[in-house]
Symmetry: C2
Subunit: 184 residues, 2 copies
Amino acid sequence: MSKGFTLWFTGMSGAGKSTLSEPIAERLRAAGHKVEILDGDVVRTHLSKGLSFSKEDRDINVRRIGFVSKLLARNGVVAVTAAISPYREVRDEVRQTITEDGAGFVEVYVHCPVEVLAERDVKGLYKKALAGEITSFTGVSDPYEAPVNPEVVVDSSKDSVADSVDKILEKLRTLGYLAAEKAA
Amino acid sequence: MSKGFTLWFTGMSGAGKSTLSEPIAERLRAAGHKVEILDGDVVRTHLSKGLSFSKEDRDINVRRIGFVSKLLARNGVVAVTAAISPYREVRDEVRQTITEDGAGFVEVYVHCPVEVLAERDVKGLYKKALAGEITSFTGVSDPYEAPVNPEVVVDSSKDSVADSVDKILEKLRTLGYLAAEKAA
């Protein structure tokens, strides 16, 4: 069995975390990995209903995702997480608990300038946030702390989904996480 | 890899759920299984901090444990849960979501008469509950709905830990869940 790890996407709402997590999961499954996607919305439903978007509650939410990822990763599963996870300190805390546990942690920063996100505005949230109708909106009225030293950075305003997926897989290959390559 | 399943302990506080989960996990690991214990207290810390002991919050807690168990079990892990989980309906709901997912669900009712629990009172909680100092205490001031048709029933006022562990393993063997036996 291949080693478990957590592939942790972080980035603002609409940047493309979930969009990337799906094809990545598919490619990893094709390579023989067991994969679970912990999407931000799914997690808010099943693990964190009732939590607000205060810093404290966001940190609790991210720690919960980290806890579940840890359980999966240490049992050989790839946990792909796609939550905004805006605060550096708690992301780093999760990285530490997962790697201490013997599993891998690969952070992917999905960058996109807020102007582009506001123009894209798939869920119509940026418009509301910029109009002050939503408070505590990451990147508008709430902080987003970009990773200082993530394993991968992609920019969804410039890179295609296919190119980003390739870039992430290339990094996983370099780090020795791809099952099929190990077997070769 | 052997099939994942959830071994779901249910019973009142102090009945012996956690006490049984440890040696069971050890035996399952020795048989080649990957095992995670989701103990009630651990879960209250990592998944459900802030939840109360109202029916609504207890149900949310149990659903969360069920959600995590499902993720583990469908990836071949044995999820051993040890939470009071007092309400039948939500336990059955969890059973359904896990079995629909193709994994197994084995419910173990750890019975113990409340008089014996009150006398044992390891954590000193029954005394307080009976004195009215703790409200919503399962079996005293809050309901406990015993399973109607659990896979295993043990009675910790009569059965030794060793006998109960054997009984549970015997049932897992009968159900075809033991890895070592499958390989034989």
